[in-house]
């Protein structure tokens, strides 16, 4: 890769629309996000439709014999992935609120490492604008 090409930062959006455990989409998305984190790109995550269930709190997978991968979302802030957008309409339709989601935080290095919320609750119009502003969209 030329020096010029290696310095290009693109806007990547990962769209998550499936519930966890019933299908493998949620875990696959998370793995790709973690790999992508190594490439210093401008990464955003969006959770809507059944995807909002991926970041619900209180998961206990012991009895289904699958790994509970939800704690990994809490590590995303340490990888500079701190723009997480969650659909208000999708939460409402499922009787969920922000309190039902995991507390995902990051430390802002530009603000004396203050701890801040990674999660932003947005409406469908804001999600449409978010999608419209990306260079790359990866859908799961």
């Amino acid at each position: 890769m030329s020096e010029e090409a290696s310095g290009v930062v693109k806007k990547f959006l990962y769209i998550n629309r499936k519930a966890p455990y019933g299908t493998v989409y949620a875990l696959e998305s998370l793995e790709v996000v973690l790999i992508a984190a190594a490439f210093d790109q401008d990464v955003s995550l969006a959770f809507f439709d059944d995807g909002v269930y991926q970041i619900a709190k209180g998961m206990d997978t012991k009895a289904i014999g699958q790994k509970n991968f939800s704690p990994t979302y809490k590590a995303l802030g340490d990888y500079d992935i701190n723009k997480i957008y969650v659909s208000k309409e999708s939460l409402d339709a499922r009787g969920l609120s922000k309190d039902d989601l995991m507390d995902l935080k990051y430390e802002d290095e530009d603000d004396d490492w203050a701890e801040k919320d990674s999660i932003h609750i947005v409406n469908s119009e804001e999600l449409a604008d978010l999608m419209d502003s990306q260079d790359v969209i990866l859908s799961f």
Binding site: K18, A19, P20, Y21, G22, T23, D49, D50, Y53, A56, K57, G58, M59, D60, T61, K62, A63, I64, Q66, N68, S70, A93, R94, G95, L96, D100
Partner: protein
């Protein structure tokens, strides 16, 4: 009497609603896997499920509920069962219809 098993999220597939259209009074409905999202006490499907409870016995597989962090959100009247309870239900009914 049959056991109707729903394993897909009602938000993503129409299988739960199709099940409701085709289930006879006195039969049982069991939510497993992503189907458990129909069993919650709030949200778009709660009214339908509440009405269904008057005519059918409704169960949800507890390991799938807990895995998804929905432990305290299951509607009153829906019975939580474990894997051996699943086997018992399958054995007690004449046949099992899986709404794949």
């Amino acid at each position: 009497m049959q056991l109707h098993v729903v394993n897909k999220s009602p938000f993503e597939k129409s299988t739960f609603e199709s099940c409701l259209l085709h289930v006879k009074k006195g039969s049982s409905i069991l939510f497993i896997e992503d189907g458990i999202f129909a069993a919650l006490n709030k949200g778009k499907f709660s009214e339908k499920v509440k009405n269904a409870l008057e005519n059918y016995k409704i169960y949800a597989l507890e390991p799938d509920v807990n895995a998804r962090g929905m432990k305290n959100k299951v509607m009153d009247g829906i019975k939580l069962i474990d894997y051996s309870g699943f086997v018992d239900l399958a054995a007690e009914h004449d046949a099992v219809q899986s709404w794949l």
